[in-house]
C-alpha cells in the first residue's frame, strides 16, 4: 500500500521530529526562565516595573502567537537584524508568549504561599533573597508543577505554528511528504500520532501531579 511511501519518507519525518523537539525543549527552558523572572519581579512590586510588565502580559496574552511569530520574523528582517533565522524567530516568539503565560502560573503559586511564611522568615532576620529562595520558592514548586506541565503540552503543540515562517518542524515536513507522495490522510495521521505520543504521557503526568498537589 501507500504506507510504503510514508515509511520511505521516515527520514523527513525524523528531521521534523528532531526540529520539533529542539524547539520545544529550548522554549520550555527559556520560557520557564523568563516566566519565573517576570513573576518574581511582579510579586516584588518594584517601582516603575509594574506598568511595563503588565503591558507585556496584556499584549502577549491578548494576541495570537502566530501573529507574534510573524511580527518577530519579518520584523527582524525589516529592522536589518541579522542572525534571526526561523529557529531564532520561533524561539523568541515562543519564549515571550509562553513566558507571559508561565509567569502567571508562577505568580499564582507564589501568592498561594501563606503570608505568615514571609513574616516568620522576616522575623528571623532572613533577607528578601533568602526568603524567596529558601522559604517561598520551595513551597511554590508542588503548587505549580501540574499547571506548568499543562503549559508545556501547549508549548509543544504551539511549535507547529513555526510552519508559517518556514521552520522545518513536523507539520511542515508532513506537508513536504504530502507534496512528494500525496496521501494526506495517512501522513497527517502519522504526524498527529507522533504529537499524541509526546503530549498524552505529559497529560497523564499533569493529572497525577494535580491529584498529588490536592492531597499535599
Amino acid at each position: 500500500m501507500g504506507w510504503q511511501g510514508i515509511f520511505e519518507s521516515s527520514g523527513i519525518l525524523f528531521t521534523g521530529l528532531v526540529n520539533t523537539l529542539l524547539l520545544s525543549v529550548a522554549s520550555i527552558a527559556t520560557g520557564t526562565t523568563l516566566g519565573l523572572i517576570v513573576a518574581l519581579l511582579r510579586t516584588a512590586r518594584i517601582r516603575g516595573l509594574g506598568l511595563p510588565l503588565r503591558l507585556y502580559l496584556e499584549i502577549f496574552r491578548g494576541s495570537p502567537l502566530l501573529v507574534q511569530m510573524l511580527f518577530i520574523y519579518f520584523g527582524a528582517a525589516y529592522l536589518g537584524i541579522r542572525g534571526v533565522d526561523t529557529f531564532m524567530a520561533a524561539l523568541t516568539a515562543l519564549t515571550l508568549y509562553e513566558g507571559a503565560l508561565i509567569s502567571e502560573i508562577f505568580r499564582a503559586g507564589i501568592e498561594a504561599v501563606p503570608r505568615g511564611q514571609r513574616e516568620a522568615a522576616r522575623s528571623l532576620g532572613l533577607s528578601r533573597y533568602q526568603i524567596e529562595r529558601y522559604v517561598i520558592l520551595p513551597q511554590t514548586v508542588p503548587i505549580v508543577l501540574a499547571p506548568l506541565v499543562g503549559q508545556y503540552i501547549g508549548l509543544v503543540k504551539d511549535t507547529a505554528l513555526a510552519t508559517a515562517i518556514g521552520y522545518f518542524e513536523l507539520v511542515r515536513e508532513g506537508q513536504a511528504i504530502i507534496d512528494r507522495i500525496g496521501m494526506p490522510i495517512e501522513t497527517f495521521i502519522v504526524i498527529a500520532g507522533i504529537y499524541f505520543m509526546i503530549c498524552y504521557p505529559m497529560s497523564l503526568a499533569a493529572r497525577r501531579l494535580e491529584t498529588r498537589a490536592l492531597h499535599a
Binding site: 513574616e119 528571623l124 522559604v135
Partner: protein, 243 residues
Amino acid sequence: MTMIELRNVHKRFDELEVLKGINLTVEKGEVVIIIGASGSGKSTMLRVINNLEPIQAGEVWVAGIPVHDPKQAGEVHRIAGMVFQQFNLFPHLTALQNVTLALRKVKKLDQKEADRLGGKALEHVGLADKASAYPAEMSGGQQQRVAIARALAMEPEIMLFDEATSALDPELVGEVTGVMRQLAAEGMTMLVVTHEMGFARDVGDRVVFVDEGVIAEEGPPEVLFTAPSNPRTQQFLHRVLDR
C-alpha cells in the same frame, strides 16, 4: 534598662485607624501581657514593634534601634523573636531545619554548629526527639513549640507572642504555655498578646488592656483583674471571664 518604647504611635490600614496614639515601655526581664477585644489593635502593636507593619506617626524604639526608621528597622530582628498564632513553620523543612535555617543564613554558622545550637533549642522546648519530623507530622502544640525554639535559637533579647495559643485545641495549650512560663522564669523579656487569663495572672508582671487603638488601662495583674478602674476594662473582663 528599657527594652521597648512606643511613643505616640499611630497606625492606619487604608481608612481605618487601628492604633491611635500608643505609649508603652517595657523593661528588661519584664513579662507584659496585652489583652483586648478582637480588632482592638493588640496584634498590630506587636507587629509594629517587629517591623512587620509600618506606622504613620510616632516612634518605636527596641533596645535603642529606631524601628520607625526604615533604614535601621531591619536590625530589630536581631533583638526580637516572634511566635505567631498560625505557627508559620516552614512545611517543607524538618523541625531541626526550621530551627537552623536562620542560624545558617543569617548568623552564617556552619552546618555542624547550627545543628548543635538547633538541637539545644529543641531540647529547651522538649522536642529533641522530633528533630527530623516535618510539621505535618506533629500536633499543633508541638508545632508551636518548634516555632518557639526557632525564634529562641537566634538568641533574641525579647520574645513577642502573638496569640500563640489561640489556634490550639484546648488540651494542647498547656504544653505551650508551659514553655512560655519557663522562659519567663529564665528572665526573658516578653510581650504576650493572649486570651489565656490564667497565664496572664500567674506569669505577667504587668497587664495592658488595649481598647479601640489606645491603652485604656495597665497595671499589675492582681490589681487589673480584680479591681480595674476603667469601666471599659471591667466590661471586657466581664465578657471574657464569665463565659
